[in-house]
Symmetry: C2
Subunit: 119 residues, 2 copies
């Protein structure tokens, strides 16, 4: 038994679509399980996407024409790859811009200071 420091679910809730679109926008094609693992890895398990949240979202994105799918057989198992459409790429950009703007507004509201990062 170990302590997993995750964020309160409310916080993460509204950002799932943004996260998924961003990942798809830079990786050409990904499948559902891969997305969950990538997010887990990149966030050091601070954000964990559940399947019950992800799959319905992916289906919704497909219905909206934001992504197209491609089913690939891996041995006897099936993988469903998702690729952004052109409209999907636009959607991803919009979502990212909106989120960045939202963070700026929240910084003002909550009085958080950005720090300069020297790499």
């Amino acid at each position: 038994m170990y302590l997993c420091v995750m964020y309160s679910s409310e916080l993460v809730k509204g950002t799932l679509k943004t996260i998924v679109l961003k990942l798809l926008s830079e990786t050409e094609k990904m499948y559902g399980y891969e997305i969950t693992q990538k997010v887990k890895e990149l966030t050091d398990s601070k954000i964990v996407i559940t399947e019950g949240a992800l799959y319905p979202l992916l289906h919704q994105l497909e219905a909206e024409g934001v992504v197209t799918t491609e089913i690939v057989n891996i041995g006897k198992r099936v993988r469903k790859y998702y690729t952004l459409t052109q409209a999907g790429n636009e959607r991803a950009k919009e979502k990212l811009y909106e989120f960045a703007d939202f963070i700026n507004t929240m910084n003002i509201l909550l009085d958080l200071k950005p720090t300069i990062k020297y790499v």
Copy 2:
């Protein structure tokens, strides 16, 4: 009729409690309507808190012992002031810290810069 550029409701959803606690932590006491106006003002109407969301939250916070209330008569009208308890101040700090950390994680995940430092 004018165009109000607000964020998608999903985004704002999870942050209401954090916003309210932050405002209360720096203003000693506030009433509901005042909170809605303050947020509207500070965010240039980009974030608008609805009463249907705020009042139930305030009642919940009171039930949890995070705030205490004080009813004040203004003429023939009634105002209900909310003040953070000591536990409420702790809660506010926690929520702010969590949000700052969350933003940092999202920045890494979405590849946005710079990072936010909560002091």
